[in-house]
């Protein structure tokens, strides 16, 4: 019944609009131009609308930077400062170009709006001009890119030292596991073919290096110590995305990928930073009013997280792991409390 009424209403609305347009057409003065080609009046109006559009467009860009820049996640790794500097320089450069060029484009749309009988300028080419606006981008972009490449090689060429913590991150539909290399600082061999029962990660039980490996469901990292992640996937492509640490690397089944960084801000410190206190307070205000949340979900406390960033299946949107960055002492204490792989398999 409701459907029928809706159809009738829609039909009546359609008829109304049809009749109104008909009346509008009939009411047009006879001498009006109905060629559907832009005339002086149209050019005037549309030209002015370009000016209005400039206001809207620049307003939108300004609003976005003003209100939405604050969401840019704070950096918490050694290379995040470098990353952020490169990002902001690039952003400044492109916004500089954007602001000037968009204005010129839309201003010309207004300034040169057509008038019947006015002459346009027959100006077909100018090689010098072409050269100028070829060479300036070449120089500017080369400088930017070379700067970027220095950062890239610094970030990607990880030099393993005695200090480096080597950690495996294991991905599967739809969770993460961490495997620390333990006292011998070497990860035991592993392959999906060894997966059986309690040996969820497929670690090779006969490999002596594997005995002291520690498998956990949370990632704890000691602050200011370089960590080198080795990524392994059980099933499909996943991606380990650590936004606060400016780090990301695909996790590929059949291959071990790697990425390294040095966390420089502990979870506690970032939680107490002005930025995070404000943000969390704001979030908890929002959550307070959310009827879909249970009472224990309403107060959020910030934790670093790892999230999956390559489409991996139905629960791709909820494949996350908590990350805790703590002092060396706190980390040692925590890891000493974890079970080694040897202990785990001995129990079985």
């Amino acid at each position: 019944m409701t459907a029928l009424l809706i159809i009738i209403v829609a039909a009546l609305l359609g008829i109304t609009i049809w009749q109104i347009t008909k009346i509008f057409k009939l009411s047009q003065p006879i001498e009006s131009d109905d060629s559907q080609i832009a005339n002086n009046k149209d050019n005037e109006k549309q030209g002015k609308l370009f000016l209005v559009f400039i206001v809207f467009f620049y307003g939108l860009m300004f609003y976005s930077f003003w209100s939405l820049s604050k969401f840019y996640a704070p950096g918490a790794s050694e290379h995040s400062a470098d990353y952020d500097q490169l990002f902001f320089i690039s952003l400044a450069l492109i916004m500089f170009v954007q602001v000037i060029i968009q204005f010129m484009l839309h201003w010309f749309g207004y300034k040169y709006r057509g008038q019947k009988g006015r002459r346009a300028l027959f100006y077909a080419d100018n090689d010098k001009l072409e050269f100028i606006w070829t060479i300036i981008p070449v120089i500017t972009l080369s400088a930017l890119i070379i700067y970027g490449l220095f950062s890239w090689s610094e970030i990607m060429n990880v030099e393993e030292t005695d200090e480096t913590l080597v950690v495996e991150i294991y991905a599967y539909q739809f969770a993460w596991r961490v495997r620390y290399s333990g006292e011998d600082r070497t990860l035991g061999e592993a392959n999906v073919r060894f997966i059986e029962g309690i040996n969820q990660l497929g670690v090779n039980e006969t490999d002596p290096y594997a005995k002291d490996d520690i498998i956990t469901t949370e990632l704890h990292l000691p602050v200011d110590r370089p960590v080198l992640f080795k990524f392994r996937s059980q099933d499909v492509l996943h991606s380990a995305y650590f936004p606060f640490f400016r780090s990301q690397m695909n996790v590929v089944p059949g291959m071990t990928t790697q990425f390294g960084f040095t966390p420089t801000t502990t979870s506690k410190d970032i939680r107490n930073s002005e930025y995070m206190v404000d943000k969390v307070r704001n979030i908890n205000e929002i959550r307070k009013n959310n009827v879909n949340l249970g009472p224990d979900e309403k107060t959020y406390e910030f934790e670093y997280y790892l999230l999956c960033n390559k489409i991996c299946g139905v629960s791709h949107y909820n494949m996350q792991m908590k990350i805790v960055v703590e002092t060396e002492e706190e980390y040692q204490k925590w890891i000493s409390e974890q079970q080694t792989f040897g202990e785990l398999t001995a129990q079985n």
Binding site: F53, S90, Q98, Y123, P137, L141, L144, D235, C312
Partner: protein, 606 residues
């Protein structure tokens, strides 16, 4: 390259005792390029309708993830039970939206329509080199559309691994439902699509090279033709690689090979695949994938050149530089694909190489943008709806292109890869630019296709709402990407950290609904004008190109008598005579290509 085509010895139009074509020959299995262009257009627009509807469902879900909407149940059936969208269908929507928009709307709908319509008309040919292959190209495209749409109704859902369909997710039905029959249908549809595209591209290339009329040297061709010609070449080079990737994926799925798969444990068992690599698939896919975006872009830019020049009453600025940049973009597009793979696990050295080549491709793109703006300078701008869309295209091309500089830098890509920053970038620079090109082309060549004019006031309303909406959707989106919001997430509520982004998501969705709604002005205008639009004159836009020398009513063979000969390039707008006292032709600010050199006219060396 500058040799004029030889006039055909027997320039036959109706030599074989021409018979009245039957309805089926004229409208269904037509070999006339103009009818095929219209077929591509209608089919492309229909697929666009479906693609937009899918994105509306996604935006609804993202804006209000915890609300129930009866529309989910109506449109998604059991995947929208009780008004809640199933997460798997969200991924399917995302996949099919991308597939439809990129391939079916912006490749076939844009290239297919305008290359077919304009190549023979603008070069002065009776039809394409092979009308039959052209007809096949369209019908293969149509079959491909039917197959991809039919995949919506499959039990486990259509393909759901993203439009990029990376294996192993796309290879294993046990990894996600859509990777069963849905993915098989996707592969079949795309294979047929590639065949269609190749047939079309070969036709375009051969026609441009061989069937230009007398006097139409390569450097007198309108930029539309250069764009379509080079696009076709890119297509021929890169689409076969997609076909290879699809074939290898098909073999992994169905014949036990291990091109892309190795060491997989899923649903409680170790699979037998060994030795393959998903990264190989990524290389093969993106070897097409990157040129593909230029296959979308170049026709739009070519159309813009034409519309800007005609409506500015000025030559396109820097014709030679424009050709050079089209060629540079085409060549460079084949060596930048790795910028989609910076964090794929490939050797970081490759990352450096691709960053460098990606930088290079920014240069010719910039040159084109500057040339467009200089074309407007000191023009006498006729602000028809087509012109507005062309100017809007330049604007979004610049905005989207500039953010590409951030994404092309391997270091910066680390933190924005696969986030909403990327989605904002490609929607502006490919989606909106492509759609504006399509719309501008439709408004501009509607009189040629249908012999009638579209309503300009509806066109104006359509443009301004769309322009405001497009930026409203995608400009703020960059910032939620910078905040670390990933792509292809069914909802963000599992991360309390993202709760304060919800309002921005709602803003984006609202802009999206309004913009989608505004397209209805266009749909009404388009359909109504085909039947009731004001009858068009022969050359309503006072344009120089040859298509406007044909009669208003389309005839088979295009020109009733001889094909016009060409004496000049297509950009003699507002050209003055030698004494600079008046235009070359008194009282007329344009000189069509088929008008010989006039008295008191200076010949410009082109």
């Amino acid at each position: 390259m500058s040799v004029a085509a030889q006039p055909l010895a027997n320039d036959h139009v109706h030599e074989e005792g021409h018979h009245e074509p039957s309805f089926i020959e004229k409208y269904i299995f037509s070999t006339d390029h103009k009818m095929i262009a219209k077929q591509y257009l209608i089919t492309g627009l229909s697929m666009g309708f479906i693609g937009i509807a899918m994105s509306m469902l996604m935006r609804l879900q993202l804006a209000w993830p915890n609300e129930t909407f009866w529309i989910y149940e109506v449109l998604l059936g059991r995947f929208g039970e009780d008004g809640v969208m199933d997460p798997s269908i969200y991924l399917a929507l995302s996949t099919i939206h991308g597939t439809i928009m990129i391939f079916y709307v912006l490749t076939a709908g844009l290239s297919g329509t305008f290359s077919n319509l304009l190549i023979p008309l603008q070069i002065g040919a009776r039809d394409m080199a092979s009308g039959f292959m052209n007809m096949l190209s369209y019908w293969l495209f149509f079959i491909s559309c039917v197959i991809i749409v039919s995949s919506f109704f499959v039990e486990a859902g259509p393909a759901s691994a993203g439009w990029t369909v990376y294996p192993p997710l796309s290879a294993l039905p046990q990894a996600i439902g859509g990777s069963g029959l849905g993915m098989t249908l996707w592969l079949i549809a795309i294979t047929i699509f590639v065949a269609s595209s190749l047939l079309g591209s070969l036709n375009y290339i051969v026609t441009v090279l061989n069937l230009r009329t007398q006097g139409m040297t390569m450097t007198r061709l309108p930029l539309t033709i250069w764009a379509f010609f080079v696009t076709a070449i890119i297509g021929v080079v890169s689409f076969p690689v997609l076909l290879a990737a699809a074939l290898l994926l098909l073999m992994d799925r169905s014949f036990g090979t291990s091109f892309f798969l190795s060491d997989i444990y899923i649903q409680g068992e170790v699979l037998s695949y060994q030795g393959g690599s998903p990264v190989l698939y990524e290389h093969l896919f993106w070897f097409l994938g990157h040129p593909e975006v230029y296959i979308v872009l170049l026709p739009a830019l070519g159309i813009t050149s034409e519309i800007l020049a005609t409506n500015s009453r000025k030559p396109i600025f820097g014709y030679r530089a424009m050709i050079a940049s089209i060629l540079a973009i085409a060549f460079l597009s084949t060596v930048v694909w790795g910028h989609h793979m910076f964090v794929s696990g490939m050797n970081p050295f490759l990352g450096s190489v691709f960053t460098f080549t990606t930088l290079l491709i920014a240069i010719p793109s910039g040159v084109k943008a500057f040339n467009f703006i200089t074309t407007l300078w000191k023009g006498n701008l006729q602000l028809n709806p087509a012109m507005l869309f062309a100017i809007g295209l330049v604007s979004t091309f610049i905005t989207g292109g500039l953010t590409g500089i951030i994404l092309g830098d391997s270091t910066l890509d680390i933190n924005v890869h696969d986030t909403y920053f990327v989605i904002a970038h490609f929607h502006l620079v490919m989606g909106i630019v492509g759609v504006y090109g399509l719309l501008a082309g439709i408004y501009h060549w509607f009189p040629k296709m249908f012999g009638r004019m579209m309503n300009k006031n509806l066109g104006y309303v359509h443009f301004w709402i769309t322009a405001v909406g497009a930026y409203g959707i995608f400009f703020p989106m960059h910032f939620i990407g910078m905040a670390g919001l990933p792509r292809r997430y069914y909802k963000f509520t599992e991360f309390p950290y993202f709760d304060d982004l919800a309002n921005t998501n709602i803003l984006i969705s609202v802009f999206a609904f309004v913009t989608a709604g505004a397209q209805l002005f266009f749909v009404y205008n388009f359909i109504h004008s085909i039947f009731y639009g004001k009858k068009a004159e022969q050359n309503p836009w006072k344009s120089n190109t040859l298509e406007w020398t044909t009669p208003v009513k389309n005839i088979h063979g295009n020109w009733p008598g001889e094909i016009p000969k060409v004496y000049r390039w297509s950009y003699d707008y507002s050209k003055l005579n030698k004494e600079e006292t008046d235009y070359v032709i008194t009282g007329q600010d344009f000189v069509p290509q088929n008008i010989p050199l006039q008295e008191h006219e200076e010949e410009m060396d082109d």
